[in-house]
Subunit: 454 residues, 2 copies
C-alpha cells in the first residue's frame, strides 16, 4: 500500500445548503402524472391526502435550487458529509488504467442513502402537524431510514415490509422496532389491499405501497411517505451528488462515467443529477450507467407508458418504463431493486438517451461484491453490487482499450443485513433467476388503458 490519499472528506460546513432540482433543465416538457380515475393531469390537490403541502410544492417545483430547511441540514450532520474513496486496491486487482471512485452512503445510522430523504420528509410532516407516517419497504433500507427519521422528529411510524425480505432479513425489522416503529409483513391482513393480494405471499413493493397508501388515505393525522420514485425524493438525495462533485474536484479529476444502481431511482438520481445538470447546461461529456437486476429489468426491457406506482392502482398514473404494475419479481436479495417501475425523471433521461441502462444476473453481482469486499474492505449491500458489476465491466473495457477512464459510482449502502445472501453465494447456493419473454408479456398485460407516451 503506497502512501496516497484514498478518502476525500468534507467538513460539516460543506453539507449542501440547497437541493438540486433538474426539472427546469430537462429537454422537452415532462409528461404529467395523471389522476388514476379521471386520467387528467394530477395537480397538487390530488396529493394532499397523502403528503404535506411543503413536499407537494417540491414535487412540482421548477426552481433549479431549493433551500434545505436548517433543522434538516442539522440532522444531516449526524452522518454527512459522507466520504468519497478512491478504490486503489480494486484498480490494482483489476490491473486497469481506470481510476475508480466511490461515494459511500453506508455510514448513516440506517446504513444507506435513504435517510437523506427520510429526514426532510419526517420534518415537513411533523411541521404540518401530522402524527404518523406509513410506508412500504423492500430490503428494509427505506423502512429503517424512515423509522430513524420519525424518531428524530417525534412521529409514529408504521411500515409494510415486502414478505420475501421480511423473511430474509428479520434483523431489519428489529432495527425498525428498536427505533420505535411498527412493522407488518406484506401482504398483511390489516388492509383491504393486503387481503386482496394474499395469493402473492412473497409480496412486492407495489403491494406494500398499496397497503401503506390505503392506511394513510383513510386517516387524517396520518400521511404516507415514499422512499424513491417521486421528484421530491430524488431532489433530497442530490446532497450525494453535490458532495461528490466537490470531492471529485478535491481529487482533481472529472468522471468520464457515473454509475449507480436503480430500483426506484433515488440513489441513481441523487448521485447523478448534479452531474447531469452540467451535461445539460454546460455540455459536459459524462456518460451515465444505470444498473438493474435482469430478473426485474424495468429500464432494459420494460415499456415506456403510463402505469400505476402501486399494484392495486391507488396512485396517480406515472410516465415511466414499467413491467406492468402487477408484476411480482422473484425474491431477489436486492430487495430495493424489486420494483415494476422507476422514477419518471430517470425514465425520461433513459428515454432521451442520456442514461444507459444495463441489467445483471444476481450471481454476477455477488461475484462483483465479493471482489470489492476482498479489495476495498467494505461489504456492499446487494443493490449497489449491481453498480459494482457495471464498474468492473467499465474498468475492464478501459484495460482492453488501453485508455484511461475515470469512473465514479454510488456505494449506497453496506451489506451487514445481507450476510445470509453472501453465505448462500459463497456456498454456491444462490438462486440466479431470469425473466423470460413469456413472463414479460404476461406482466405487461396488466398495463392500464391510458394516453400513449412518445
Amino acid at each position: 500500500m503506497s502512501d496516497q490519499t484514498v478518502k476525500f472528506m468534507l467538513g460539516e460546513q460543506d453539507i449542501p445548503t440547497h437541493w438540486v432540482n433538474l426539472m427546469a433543465d430537462l429537454p422537452g416538457d415532462a409528461p404529467p402524472p395523471l389522476h388514476p380515475g379521471t386520467q387528467q393531469p394530477a395537480g397538487p390537490d390530488d396529493l394532499t391526502p397523502l403528503f404535506p403541502m411543503a413536499l407537494i410544492l417540491q414535487e412540482v417545483s421548477a426552481e433549479p435550487r431549493i433551500e434545505i430547511p436548517p433543522p434538516v441540514r442539522e440532522a444531516y450532520k449526524l452522518w454527512r458529509p459522507t466520504p468519497l474513496y478512491r478504490a486503489r486496491r480494486l484498480e490494482r486487482a483489476l490491473d486497469t488504467p481506470a481510476h475508480i471512485y466511490y461515494k459511500y452512503e453506508g455510514g448513516s445510522p440506517a446504513g444507506s442513502h435513504k435517510p437523506n430523504t427520510a429526514v426532510p420528509q419526517a420534518y415537513e410532516n411533523a411541521a404540518a402537524g401530522i402524527k404518523k407516517l406509513t410506508t412500504e419497504t423492500g430490503a428494509g433500507q427505506w423502512g429503517s431510514a424512515l423509522s430513524f427519521a420519525c424518531m428524530l422528529f417525534g412521529l409514529e411510524c408504521e411500515v409494510w415490509m415486502v414478505g420475501s425480505s421480511y423473511d430474509q432479513k428479520p434483523y431489519r425489522r428489529s432495527m425498525m422496532e428498536t427505533w420505535g416503529a411498527t412493522v407488518h409483513r406484506s401482504p398483511s391482513d390489516v388492509t383491504e389491499a393486503g387481503r386482496s393480494q394474499a395469493s402473492h405471499p412473497t409480496g412486492s413493493l407495489g403491494i406494500a405501497i398499496s397497503e401503506a397508501v390505503e392506511v394513510a388515505a383513510q386517516n387524517g393525522d396520518t400521511n404516507y411517505s415514499l422512499g424513491s420514485v417521486l421528484n421530491h425524493v430524488l431532489l433530497h438525495q442530490t446532497v450525494i451528488g453535490q458532495e461528490a462533485l466537490a470531492q471529485m474536484a478535491m481529487a482533481g479529476e472529472e468522471p468520464d462515467v457515473v454509475v449507480a444502481c436503480v430500483g426506484g431511482g433515488s440513489n441513481f438520481g441523487g448521485l447523478t443529477i448534479p452531474f447531469l445538470r452540467r451535461v445539460l447546461r454546460d455540455g459536459a461529456r459524462t456518460r451515465f450507467v444505470a444498473a438493474e437486476p435482469s430478473a426485474c429489468p424495468t429500464l432494459t426491457r420494460g415499456v415506456y407508458a403510463y402505469d400505476f406506482g402501486d399494484t392495486v392502482g391507488l396512485t396517480p398514473l406515472m410516465p415511466m418504463y414499467t413491467l406492468g404494475h402487477d408484476f411480482v419479481p422473484p425474491p431477489l436479495h436486492a430487495g430495493g431493486l424489486r420494483y415494476h417501475g422507476d422514477s419518471p425523471l430517470v425514465c425520461g433521461l433513459v428515454k432521451a438517451g442520456l442514461v444507459e441502462p444495463r441489467a445483471y444476473r444476481q450471481n454476477e453481482t455477488f461475484e462483483a461484491a465479493v471482489r470489492f469486499a476482498r479489495t476495498e474492505g467494505i461489504i456492499p449491500a446487494p443493490e449497489p453490487a449491481h453498480a459494482i458489476k457495471a464498474v468492473i465491466d467499465e474498468a475492464e473495457a478501459a484495460r482492453e482499450a488501453g485508455e484511461p477512464r475515470v469512473i465514479l459510482f454510488g456505494l449506497c449502502g453496506h451489506g451487514n443485513f445481507d450476510m445470509s445472501a453472501y453465505d448462500a453465494y459463497l456456498a454456491g447456493k444462490l438462486e440466479d433467476p431470469e425473466f423470460s419473454e413469456d413472463e414479460l408479456n404476461s406482466a405487461l398485460a396488466s398495463l392500464p388503458e391510458a394516453p400513449a407516451l412518445t
Copy 2:
C-alpha cells in the same frame, strides 16, 4: 433541533503518526508476565513462537511514543479519522446539565475499533514472512477485523469463534468468510485444547484462545494474533484517544470523566491512555470509569493475581484481575466482554485507583442502548451499551447535583449484528444472568500456584 455542531471531524492528515505507550509513565514497576512452566519472568524469546519480533518489541517497549508504519497509517485511512459526536439529543432526553461526547468507531469496515490493531498486526506478520494468522473471537468483532486485515496484506486467517456467539451471530461468520477467512465453532474438534473442553459447548474466549494458540505454536509459518489484553494491542488502539483529544479541543471542552467498556481492555485503553498520560504527567484531574458485565465481573469482583490468559494454560502467567482461567461466563450478548481476565495494564490502573470499575446487568445495558438509539440514532453493540449505562448514570448524577459535567465515552461498535438481542430485549425475553458468591469462589479455585501480587 438547533443549528449547532454535533460532529467533530478531523482530516486524513490528522491521523496520528505515533502510538502512545503508557508503560514509562505508570506509577511503580509493573509486575512482569511469567513463563507458564518456570514461573520466571517471560522475556521476548518466550513469545517468538506466537508473534513476530516487531510486535514483541512493541509489547515490551518503554518508549513513550512508537511510530506507526506508513503502510499501516495508509490502511487506517480507509476508515480513520473517526468522528467525535456531541450527544445533544441524549442530553436533552436526560434533562441533564452534563455535556456528553462520544467517539464512534463503528464506521470501520468491520464495524468496531478492532481493525485499529488488526491492521498493524497483519502488517508486521506479513513483513516477517508469516503466511497465516490464527485467532479467537467472541462476538465476532475481533475475528472479522482480523479477517479484514489479513485480506489487506495477503495473509490466510483461521478463526475460532466462541460457541455461544457462533450460534447467536451467524452473520459475523459470513462476514469473516466473505473476506476469505476460515471459521471454526469453539470448542472445535480440530485441536487438542478444543477436544479437552467439549464439556463446555457454549465455549469461552479462554478456550478459543487455547485452540488458536495451539495451532500457531505447532506451525512455523503460522502466528497467533490477539485482539485485546496485551500491551501492543492497547498501544495500537491509542489512535482513538489521540484523535479524541484533538476533537475535544475542537469542541473547546475538557472531559471530567472518560467512560469505556472493558472486556480485555483494548477499547478502554485505546480511548483512555492519551488522557491517562495527562493525568500521570501533568496532574490533569480526569476520572476514568470502566464498565463491565455483572455476569463477568473481572474488575469489580475478581482477585488481583497471576493467572493464565487462556483456559488450558498455554499462555504466560499475567498479573491481572481474574475470575480464574477456567471460568466460563454465561452466554451474554456482549460476547466481547466474556473474558475471565483483563489487560494487565488496565488492571494495574484499577489497582492504583486511577480507574473506577463498575458492573451492570445485561437488561439495564440494553435499556440504555435503546435509549441511546432512540435519541442519537446509532444502534450500539452490546459491549458499549455497558459504557452508555455508566454515562447515563453520570449524567443523572450531574443533574441531581445540579452541576455541569463533561463526559466522554467510547462507542466502539455498532449493533448491526446484534439485532436478535435487541429483539429479545424489546420482547421482554432477554436473559439477565447474575454471578453468585458461590460461583465466584468456585471459579477462583482454578487460580494457579504462582507468586503473590501486592
